[in-house]
Every structure is written in C-alpha cells, then in structure tokens.
C-alpha cells in the first residue's frame, strides 16, 4: 500500500477482527468497517427488495443497528459480514412483512430489456421469461438468494462466498447446484 494512502487511512492494513475490536472503542474505525461492507450490503438489499430507494433506507438502518449493537458483538470465528447480512436479512424480512405486496415490479421494470432488433413477440416472450425467473428466485429460501447475489452481482468465487456465508467451498458448490436445480424445477412446473 502506498505510504500516503496508509497515512490517510490508518485502519486499511488492519485485519477485520482487529478492526471490529477497535471500532468498539474508536468511532472512526467504524467508518472503515462501513467502507469495507457497504457496497455488498446495499447490493444484497437491493436485490432482495427490488428498489433502490428501499435499498438505501434499509442499508442505512442496517449500519445504524450494527453500530448500536457493536459493543455486544462477539467474534465466534464467523466473518463480520455474516453478522451484517443477518441484520440486513432481518430488516428485509420485516420490510416484506410490513408491505402487503412485494415490490416485484420496480426491479423488473429497471432490468427488462431486449435487443431492439428482436420482434415484439420475441421481446414480450423474453420479458415474460425474466419475470418468471425473478419470481422463481424470490420463492427460494434466503440463503439461496444470497448465494446468487454474491455469485452473480458481487462476482465472488465459491471460496469467497464460503467465507462470507461461513461454509466450505464444497458446501457452496453443492448449494449452488441445488439452487439451479430448484429454479429449473420451479420454472418447469409453471410451464417454462
């Protein structure tokens, strides 16, 4: 790391465990924890809620909760990110409970696209397929959705996903395979 950068950010070289312990006593250290994790937590919430506005709201709440509960946080060998994901997951679950209908449309409207050269029928079919796939993903258990977000949106390797989820690499491969299998079966059951 360049010296100037190290001088600007004295926490950059610290291991996560050391940083967490320091953040319990030093407010500024929590800023480094935030910088290390905010993008992933935001991505996770964005793909679980389908809305950028909700993702911002819940990301802010997740980090405020993490800060409040940090003095009682104990390192059990599981990455700090796993604790943050649990907070984010609980917030998303409460969010879905408090909204009578899931906001399925906003993300889909954002993502739906087809090549302009495609015929209207093909575009419509492609969009229908995307909707069906999103719905099938959202019917999967939380850990499978998280795996897909980490694998595809965050572009993590199986080993890195294993570290984040507190599982071995082979367990992640197995979970990924089961997820694909379940999605395929779900889509086929609905005529796709």
């Amino acid at each position: 790391m360049p010296e100037a950068e190290a001088a600007e950010n004295p926490y950059a070289d610290l291991s996560e465990a050391a940083l967490v312990e320091l953040a319990k006593r030093e407010g500024d250290a929590f800023g480094e924890l935030y910088r290390r994790h905010v993008d992933r937590i935001y991505t996770y919430i964005y793909y679980r809620t389908g809305s950028a506005a909700d993702a911002e709201d819940l990301t802010a709440r997740a980090f405020h909760q993490a800060l409040t509960h940090l003095p009682r946080y104990t390192d059990h060998g599981v990455p700090f990110a796993a604790w943050l994901y649990r907070i984010a997951h609980n917030l998303v679950a409460n969010h879905h409970r408090s909204h009578s209908r899931w906001k399925l449309t906003s993300l889909e409207d954002l993502e739906l696209s087809a090549r302009p050269a495609d015929s209207p029928e093909r575009m419509a079919e492609a969009n229908e397929r995307k909707r069906a796939l999103w719905s099938a993903i959202r019917r999967q258990p939380e850990e499978r959705q998280r795996l897909l977000i980490l694998k595809y949106a965050d572009r993590l390797s199986n080993e890195e996903i294993g570290e984040q989820m507190g599982r071995t690499e082979s367990a992640i491969k197995s979970l990924y395979f089961r997820t694909l299998k379940a999605l395929k079966a779900d889509l086929e059951a609905r005529g796709w």
Binding site: G27, T43, L183, K184
Partner: protein
C-alpha cells in the same frame, strides 16, 4: 457428451462469469443448467449505492460512532449498569414466569387429588 458441446463450454462459462478455478468435473455436473446460469448472470448486474448516499451515510455513522465511543468512555458504569439492568430484568421475568408455572401446576395437582377423593367418597 458430444465434442461440439464440450467446445461450447468455455465460451458459455466465460459469459456466465463462473469463477475460473472451477474444476471440469464440477462443470460437467452443471451442464444441463448452463443456460439457466447464463440467464442468472444477465439478471444480476452489479449495482452500487449512489456516491452522495454513500458519503452522507458514512458521515452520519462516524458522527454517531464517535458519540457512542465518547459515551462509553465517560459513562462506562452507566452503560454497564444499563446492560446489567436489562439482564436483571430478563432474570426477574424468567423467575416470575417459573413461579407462576409452578403455582399453576400445584393448583392442578390439588384439584385432581380433591376430585379423586370426592369420587372415591
């Protein structure tokens, strides 16, 4: 598996951005699901929070974190006693619930014994 299918695999894997360290054996087991994996890769595009949101939240959190740290240094006893108070409250609640549970059980046994005595009489 046909040769053409095997030749097709690397390009598909590249486009689905499956990590490079994956083994050929693992790949073969997911062949029937490659098209689905490709669709998933197209659906989950990387996203990032707005820079203004990111910066605002960082400022707010650091300010709150500094305040929290200062409080814990200035009033450690108050915070400990508050946490201790919460623990005490949980213990008292549990003890009260246990006492009520025991009283109900004893009352049930007494009623049962009295009814049996009445029937016998």
């Amino acid at each position: 598996m046909s040769v053409s299918r095997i030749d097709f695999l690397p390009s598909v894997l590249f486009s689905t951005r499956v990590p490079a360290e994956s083994h050929a054996g693992d790949m073969l087991s997911v062949v029937p699901y490659l098209a689905l994996a490709r669709e998933l890769a197209a659906l989950f595009t990387p996203v990032a929070p707005r820079p203004e949101f990111r910066a605002d939240l960082e400022r707010t959190l650091i300010a709150d974190a500094r305040r929290q740290s200062a409080e814990s240094v200035l009033f450690p006893v108050a915070i400990e006693s508050r946490e201790g108070g919460e623990r005490r409250w949980v213990m008292v609640s549990a003890a009260a619930a246990a006492a009520v549970g025991s009283a109900v059980s004893i009352a049930g046994i007494v009623v049962y014994v009295l009814r049996r005595r009445d029937r016998a009489a």
